[in-house]
């Protein structure tokens, strides 16, 4: 639904066919599936699927983003970002839940806004665990 900014709108969303070229901002409250070529921003409150035949030149922002095509631009996923084996990304990515499959190409900077803090906290706690295990052995 282009121009429809109502959150949580259900429906089929937007599908861009392989034979379609778009220039401008593609915005939809529902899912977006892209097989074609877009020069501009892609924004969704829900899932964005960039399929194998797709080429995006511009920023992509969504809740769940799946990349099987080629993207030249930054990608922001508030939920999960998955780069599939055929996916090619040339630009920065930001997501708290990231998956990069073998075969995918990613050239750019990666930031994990919330996940980074949790990961750091976990690494600080992990060195203490072997000590506890050793202590248990000593008791034995």
């Amino acid at each position: 639904m282009i121009g429809d900014k109502r959150p949580g709108t259900s429906g089929p969303g937007t599908v861009v066919g392989a034979n379609v070229k778009l220039v401008g901002t593609l915005q939809d409250a529902s899912d977006i599936v892209i097989h074609g070529r877009i020069e501009g921003e892609v924004v969704s409150n829900q899932m964005i699927s960039i399929m194998e035949t797709a080429y995006i030149k511009g920023p992509v922002s969504g809740d769940v983003v799946n990349i099987a095509g080629k993207v030249r631009g930054s990608i922001t996923a508030t939920g999960r970002l998955e780069i599939l084996p055929t996916g090619k990304i040339f630009g920065s990515i930001a997501s708290k839940d990231l998956s990069i499959k073998s075969g995918a190409i990613f050239v750019g900077k990666c930031t994990m806004p919330e996940g980074e803090k949790e990961a750091e906290e976990q690494t600080e706690e992990t060195p203490e665990q072997p000590k506890k295990q050793n202590e248990t052995y000593e008791v034995e």
């Binding site: 639904m1 937007t14 066919g17 220039v23």
Partner: protein
């Protein structure tokens, strides 16, 4: 008070219209019945009905008849209270599903119970409205340019379907491969996903073709030619729907 505009009876329609009149009489909602002719067009009859003070104009016939009545009700704005009722010829159409009627009886019952719904219509510039779907079609693929809110683009296509709510379907059959290829895939049980169809929902869209003007057809009738701008006009017409309609 009901004002029925019935399509000129041809073949099986004669018996059907008699049956409709009987049902309407039984339900106690029989009103004035008119039939368009060379002397009185559908548009003129609709205008006349509203001017006479009928609050419910009922289209008894096909989608073309319904669209012509809608155009008068929406564009001429003779009366704010005018309501559209429909007894469709075919109950397997999008329009019949929209008003949730499945047969003659349910269509007549819906008229009696008068549950009203205010619906969206598509408008083709300058002043044509339709409730059904419009089609832009060509024998072979052509590059069509389109512009929406903040977005412009092009597509190789031979068919564009515009549905109420301005739902745009763009399809390119030629890119699916030849008949032999499709048969081969069918033989091997391969299922190919359709990557050539596009779907958009917007409030306004303009279509344009290079060096050619394609017709925009609604119910088989050409209502405009490209370049053309279409709008979604929300809540512009009151229509009678069946009571058990769940949407």
């Amino acid at each position: 008070m009901y004002y029925y505009i019935m399509e000129p009876p041809k073949g099986n329609l004669v018996k059907r219209q008699e049956k409709i009149k009987d049902i309407l009489g039984d339900l106690g909602i029989a009103g004035e019945t008119v039939t368009p002719s060379a002397a009185r067009t559908i548009e003129e009859l609709t205008h006349l009905g509203v001017m006479k003070g009928y609050s419910t104009i009922v289209a008894v016939g096909g989608e073309s008849l319904v669209n012509k009545i809608i155009n008068v009700l929406v564009t001429q704005k003779i009366s704010k209270d005018a309501v559209l009722g429909v007894i469709p010829n075919d109950f397997d159409t999008m329009l019949a599903k929209k008003i949730n009627v499945i047969d003659l009886r349910s269509a007549c019952d819906a008229l009696k119970f008068r549950k009203l719904e205010t619906i969206d219509l598509c408008q083709v510039d300058p002043n044509k409205f339709f409730i059904t779907q419009a089609v832009i079609e060509n024998f072979r693929n052509r590059k069509i340019l389109f512009a929406m809110e903040g977005l412009s683009g092009s597509a190789q296509t031979n068919q564009i379907i515009i549905k109420p709510g301005l739902n745009i379907y763009i399809h390119d059959k030629a890119l699916e491969g030849n008949a032999f290829g499709r048969f081969f895939h069918w033989l091997l049980g391969k299922k190919e996903s359709d990557i050539y169809s596009s779907f958009f929902k917007t409030k306004k869209i303009r279509f344009e073709l290079e060096n050619v003007n394609l017709p925009i057809k609604v119910s088989g009738e050409t209502i405009a030619k490209t370049p053309v701008t279409l709008h979604n006009r929300s809540r512009v017409l009151k229509i009678i729907v069946a009571r058990d309609k769940i949407r």
